[in-house]
């Protein structure tokens, strides 16, 4: 039908004109239908291809997106999302390629959408392409080989890295704080309880200096911490030296020098991994670790016998009678799999005076020991089977101690060599079994054995000697559920001395925890459901016989005791502003030996904590607890009730200020009304922070605070007939400067 008029038209005006008109019509038709194509090659639709579409890649592998053409300036810019993250700035444009080299942000493992957008100049985002990015968990040799193609790039980056390594890198970070603090009024009852200094103002300060130098992989780092006070009793070593304690003292320091596995450390160091000889012993001293090859390592330590502070005994090894020297050799038999089979041999020799660590209180002695031990740890390739065994011999004695002798001739202590040994083996019976949804089941069985001979002792590793124990344990996890059951049996008096009590121990314990809020609906946790845990522990300890010639008179002196402990915990996180916790603990001590049948106790503790944030600047928390102890023999019930609350209000009155206040009260008493105890305390503090100067080293931060505290206590005992009443009101203030 259309041909006829065209033919007529063509016949009438000639074939050439007809052809021109036809081509023009086709052009306009195409121009209307495909406007982007109309601009020629530069205006063609952008097509994007990716180098990862048909394969799995590793998290650190480079990915490339290739655009079919370059974007013009007025078209906008590309934007790339991987999953929900806009990583556009990490893509570099190389000609038509958008290249991403994971470094700052590794690629997410699993299958993730990758979306390319065009961000038009007006801010409109238009989807250009979508891909599926499949990232596997581990690097494979093939992937590495593929990556290795970029030889030139690697060479240039190596050269840059070498130049970088040749540079000296130094860091120096000082920090000094000064605190002016004082008490301007204290009201106390009774008056005799008033502090000796009232009022007072003290100046205290602390500082730390850290310094680091690095070049070609070698690094030297130093860290020194100091503290001082104008008040003698606040001096770091006042407890040890009294009024001779320096007012400015060294609290700790550490100088480290090393490269790779080689290291030399001086200062506060830690050493040892032998359970019964020397195990993570921390003190002041020197340690050296020298790798002999990739598989062997020797380490050495010389340390003070206890952890100390202060400038005296700076290196830590100047007191021969109070020092520890140890060395260890370790070999990895499977170099590509650390701890696949590792053997460690340790020796230790040391001597202690009856002194304690800085943060320790103990009943101690003068001691001396020499020992050696070997430890083997290993596992199979899949880490399904794991084991550890250790054997230690130690020769221990107590040298002469004038503080214990006090002029008496004491009986001799014979130095004796004794042995301690242990073994532990674990096997994952089930690993990663999917039972429900994506939740995997893992079941592990463990057996432990330990035997420590009577009189075994090492000066820096505590162990209850004269004991043999065997324990079986089953642990399981299934998603957010964790479960442990253990059974332990032990006995003491391994030499079977008839005059010493032999005690047998049977213990069964179980623990289960489950996150109810997310177990069933992991995508959208239910806030009203808590995370809960429950534990049960039963110990039965009983004597094997009534010892003879050991001053035991009757069976009431030989224990036969059952202890049952139940503990339950629940935590609700109702929102980011509101959380609740509940804790219940119940214990029952049941003595069954003749003469002690009624000497039983039952205790129960109920505690609730509540934290809330009613406003972005206000935190409130509350504690409520009730404790009860029932003594069946007397009979008597003691109860303790505590309520505590604290509020913290940031930026009240002034910007950079904070106000906090707390109140707590404890009431205790017994049902027979023999004893009543009441304690209450209230404190309120306002602090304001300000600063001057802007540049580093010229900048000073300061903080002012004022605090009021009111404490009250009253103990009335109608059995022993006393009433201890005391009351204190204190005002404190302070101004702190943080220089640098």
């Amino acid at each position: 039908m259309t041909e006829q008029p065209q033919k007529i038209f063509c016949l009438k005006h000639g074939r050439r004109l007809c052809l021109i008109l036809a081509l023009t019509a086709i052009y306009f038709f195409l121009a209307v239908s495909f406007p982007n194509v109309s601009a020629g090659a530069d205006d063609e639709e952008i097509k994007i291809t990716a180098n990862f579409t048909e394969r799995e890649i590793t998290p650190s592998e480079k990915i490339e997106l290739t655009l079919s053409r370059l974007l013009k300036a007025d078209e906008g810019r590309p934007a790339i999302f991987i999953g929900k993250t806009d990583l556009s700035v990490l893509f570099t444009q190389q000609d038509r390629n958008l290249v991403y080299e994971p470094g700052l942000q590794p690629l997410p493992v699993g299958e993730t959408p990758l979306t390319v957008y065009l961000v038009e100049p007006g801010g409109n985002w238009k989807t250009l392409a979508e891909f599926s990015l499949k990232v596997k968990t581990r690097e494979t040799p093939i992937a590495n080989a593929e990556n290795a193609n970029a030889g030139e790039t690697a060479a240039s980056s190596e050269s840059a890295a070498r130049k970088e390594a040749d540079k000296w890198k130094t860091e120096f970070t000082p920090n000094v704080s000064l605190n002016i603090k004082g008490q301007n009024q204290t009201l106390t009852f009774p008056r005799e309880a008033a502090p000796e200094r009232n009022p007072f103002t003290d100046l205290a300060g602390q500082g730390d200096i850290s310094f680091k130098i690095e070049r070609r992989g070698w690094a030297l780092t130093n860290q020194f911490n100091f503290a001082g006070s104008s008040f003698q009793q606040e001096a770091l070593r006042f407890g040890e030296l009294g009024n001779r304690a320096p007012r400015i003292d060294l609290s700790s320091y550490l100088i480290q020098f090393g490269k790779g596995r080689f290291s030399v450390k001086l200062g506060h160091v830690s050493f040892g991994s032998n359970r019964h000889l020397i195990n993570s012993f921390s003190s002041r001293g020197i340690t050296v670790t020298v790798p002999i090859s990739k598989q062997n390592e020797i380490s050495f330590a010389a340390m003070n016998g206890t952890s100390v502070v202060g400038f005296d005994n700076f290196i830590g090894v100047t007191r021969r009678k109070h020092s520890v020297v140890s060395a260890a050799f370790a070999r990895e038999f499977i170099k590509e799999r650390p701890n696949g089979l590792r053997v460690e041999f340790s020796v230790m020799r040391g001597s202690l005076l009856p002194l304690s660590n800085f943060n320790q209180g103990e009943v101690n002695d003068a001691e001396k020991s020499l020992g050696f031990g070997v430890k083997i740890i290993g596992s199979d390739k899949k880490q399904r089977l794991r084991y550890e065994v250790g054997f230690t011999r130690s020769r221990f004695t107590n040298p002469s101690d004038p503080l214990l002798e006090q002029g008496f001739n004491l009986t001799e202590i014979r130095p004796v060599w004794r042995t301690a040994r242990y073994g532990e083996i674990s096997f994952d019976f089930i690993q990663g079994l999917k039972l429900w949804k994506e939740k995997k089941l893992k079941v592990t069985g463990t057996y432990r054995h330990e035997e420590i001979e009577p009189l075994y002792r090492s000066i820096v590793a505590f162990a209850q000697a004269d004991k043999r124990q065997n324990q079986f344990e089953v642990s399981a996890s299934f998603g957010e559920i964790n479960f442990v059951y253990g059974n332990l049996r032990d006995r003491d008096n391994l030499n079977d001395l008839a005059s010493i009590l032999k005690t047998l121990n049977r213990r069964n314990n179980m623990n289960i925890s489950i996150a109810l809020n997310s177990f069933f609906t992991p995508q959208k946790p239910k806030k009203w459901l808590p995370q809960i845990s429950y534990s049960y522990d039963h110990v039965h300890q009983f004597g094997a016989f009534l010892p003879v010639d050991g001053e035991f008179r009757d069976l009431s002196q030989v224990p036969d005791q059952h202890n049952y402990v139940h503990a339950f915990n629940a935590q609700w996180q109702l929102s980011s502003k509101f959380n609740i916790g509940y804790r219940y603990n119940r214990a029952f001590q049941d003595n069954q030996q003749p003469g002690r049948e009624r000497a039983d106790f039952r205790t129960a503790v109920n505690a609730v904590t509540l934290g809330t944030k009613p406003h972005s600047t206000l935190d409130l928390d509350f504690d409520l607890s009730q404790e009860q102890l029932k003594n069946f023999e007397q009979p008597r019930i003691d109860r303790t009730f505590r309520f505590g609350t604290r509020a913290t209000w940031r930026t009240p009155f002034l910007k950079n200020s904070s106000f906090s206040a707390g109140f707590s009260t404890t009431l205790a008493g017994d049902t027979n009304n023999f004893n009543d105890t009441r304690n209450a305390e209230f404190d309120a503090q306002w602090a304001y922070r300000f600063s001057f100067g802007k540049e580093k080293f010229k900048k000073t931060d300061a903080q002012f605070f004022i605090r009021y505290a009111n404490r009250y206590g009253d103990v009335i005992d109608r059995l022993f007939l006393f009433n201890n009443f005391n009351k204190t009101q204190v005002f404190n203030f302070g101004l702190n400067f943080n220089i640098f």
């Binding site: 005059s499 010639d549 022993f720």
Partner: protein, 416 residues
Amino acid sequence: MNNFLKIAFFTILFSAGISAQTIAVNPTGVNVNSQNATTVFLTFGVIPPGYVPAEAIWCGELIPAPAPAIGLQCRPDTIYGALPARFNLSTPSGNGGFTDIMSIPPSVVRRAYQAAVRGANAGFFYVRRFISVNGDPDQYVNVTCRMTGGGARVPFALINVELKTPSGDPVLFIKSGEKFPEIVADIQYNGTGRLKGRWEIVQPGEEPPADEDLLTEATLPVEKRGSQRRYTQISRFNEFLQPTGKFKLPLEANERLKTLVAGQYILLLRIEATDDKESDSNLAAVGVGNGVVHSGAVASFPMPTLKFFVVGESATTKWADTSLVLPQKNVVIDVNNPLVFTWREFSEAKAYRLEVLDDAGSVILSAITLSPITSYRAPSWFWTRFANKKLSWRVAALDESGAVISQTGTQALSTN
């Protein structure tokens, strides 16, 4: 003939010619740990006028004290040791009473154990001598010690307490606002019972505690309990300790410690006395009181303290607290306009990660920007997809490896 008969024989033999013993002790006998230290609360009484306590020694055998002294004294060749002064916390108490904390060092039981291996009686004795300033005869009072494994039936006592920090440093330096490190009290003990008490802190400007304030409550005579100075309580604990010898008590309520002002603090572990049958001391039995003193959790040393310094607010903390700029807090956002996030620069950051979260706390959008760029314009489709949700945002500062150096809190996005 066992020791008991020997003692009885000599007591009868010599008692005819000497004055009667007036000072008694309670408990008269206790089970002790055969391999480690043991601590026991003892009450002596009635102490006659003019009498004062002298030395206290442990020995394997007793013999009658030579006249005119009264009681049984240690046989000189079986002495295991004398109570070192550092553990001597004895003090007069009540109506003519005398409280003694018998703390047996491990070397004493080691001597006793070696004697038992050689065939001697495994039991040994603690003998306290009282001397008279008026010239009256000395009096010796003894307590029997029976060797056991240190578990049930041994008085509940703390023999080693150490406050441990994660770094092992003896003194802590904490930047203001930083998370408080996890502190643990590593406790070795004898017997079994409730460990209850409080964690307290001495704040800047407060008078530090005296040694007596740091003793466990059960170490003090009953009338002095409750008179120890109290400080700001940060949490309370009440745990049952099985007769197994070791326990780790963690410091809880770390959140509360975040608001501390700069300065020097002392963390205190306060242990209260608990009811434990084996630790009881009957005052009525020695005539110095009406009842039984419960002394569970006795210890012969002051509880260790942990000194820590809160130093000025770190740049990290400061940035985390104050860096979110736009959208402004509590200012309603017009969803018809582009959404632009702006935050303050953190000098050590190499990059930033902006995160927008829904009300369940799940990230619905995130973006990486490279330092020094501190703003991000959300995609145009943002409000189309998320307009009906309760949203909040936060920013993390990242180092060159992508690790988070600091992170702001979340701030709500208020929409109309």
